[in-house]
Symmetry: C2
Subunit: 223 residues, 2 copies
């Protein structure tokens, strides 16, 4: 009995080690593949060509081909929005988002999906815009995603994200349906470390500055 | 008399040819120097450290050391604004500007200065913001700079400039005093052709689309 009892935890330990080794191998393989291909250097312009992104989001959610095809009349074509979504959904470990305004339902779903997939998502946003109707910020917080905001007079006007500490997504585009569908906007997607690192450092600076322990709460009695 | 009269235009012609050769040599030397140095790859963050930019603008205007020192109490230090101004003032031939909002007096002065220096300046902006109090657009037009604007429902929300068709200045920053002094903003300054070319193409597309021959003018009688 004692010998049999000891074998079971040992087997479980071996299975755990094998799973960890397989995960490490998959990560190393992905990193090797990334090193083999040239760094991403892409410029996206908006307004985005109208396109249905349901298949893309369904696939990323693991629904694959079992999902019912979307009944909407939009064409299933490549567009600036679908390319932006694809880059975002390539996240495996971490996603830092620093956005003035965030109300796009598609981009909101993508971020929630990454959070559920175990990606460490952190969001910084502007206090004056996060509570507006249609904002995704409340939904992200409700889903358990960490969000921090400013308490300043100026705007937190950045519009950037960093995927897996290697890919910078930045430009003039706020992640809103108005901007995606109607505005003239640009987004740069770059993997050059010379551009990624300063933005990561800026994110960490702001993240610490906007730590809730520094928030000031005023009561009505305060002058 | 005839021989002496012919010599004078010949001398003038020689002087003109020498001046043209000297100008061509200076341009070639500048291009050679640019090729020798690595491409600019800089990230600027805002709000900018307060700094006096009078000396920088005075120098660019050719006043040199003869200008009276500025009596303002701001330190004469390197800042994000001074670096942005320096990159802008490096223009020798052309400057394309595509800006949602433009009200910074310092950046306005720099653009006017380049125009006076013979740089071909073209500006694209948003119709709804160009007439707001403090906008530089009226002043630029008054100075003879070509400006075109949208007539769309969406915003012309870009915030980029291209210097001498080689340097891209782009980011979240509108060229306003509020944004420079109070907001969290970013500006990328890059000389990689992979990023510069798509932005130049986008500028030319918008420039043609916003050609005044396409403007629609409504009278009060129109329904």
């Amino acid at each position: 009995m004692w010998a049999a009892g000891a074998r079971q935890p040992r087997r479980a330990g071996l299975a755990l080690a094998a799973a960890a080794a397989a995960a490490a191998l998959a990560l190393a393989l992905a990193a090797w593949r990334r090193r083999r291909r040239p760094p991403v250097r892409e410029v996206l312009f908006f307004p985005s060509r109208p396109s249905c992104t349901e298949a893309l989001l369904g696939e990323a959610a693991g629904l694959g081909t079992t999902a019912r095809p979307c009944p909407c009349p939009l064409p299933r074509v490549d567009s600036s929005l679908s390319r932006l979504l694809r880059h975002l959904l390539s996240a495996r470990r971490s996603l830092e988002i620093c956005l003035f305004a965030f109300s796009s339902p598609q981009l909101g779903r993508a971020v929630q999906l990454l959070h559920r997939r175990g990606v460490r998502v952190r969001v910084v946003t502007d206090a004056q815009y996060m509570g507006l109707p249609g904002s995704q910020i409340g939904l992200l917080r409700h889903a358990g995603i960490q969000v921090r905001h400013d308490q300043e007079n100026g705007y937190m006007h950045h519009k950037f994200a960093v995927v897996d500490r290697r890919m910078l997504i930045t430009g003039s585009l706020n992640w809103t349906t108005q901007a995606i569908q109607n505005n003239r906007e640009n987004v740069l997607v770059v993997e050059d470390a010379e551009y990624v690192k300063p933005f990561l450092d800026e994110f960490e600076r702001i993240w610490e500055e906007y730590n809730p322990i520094n928030y000031r709460f005023f009561s009505k009695d305060d002058k």
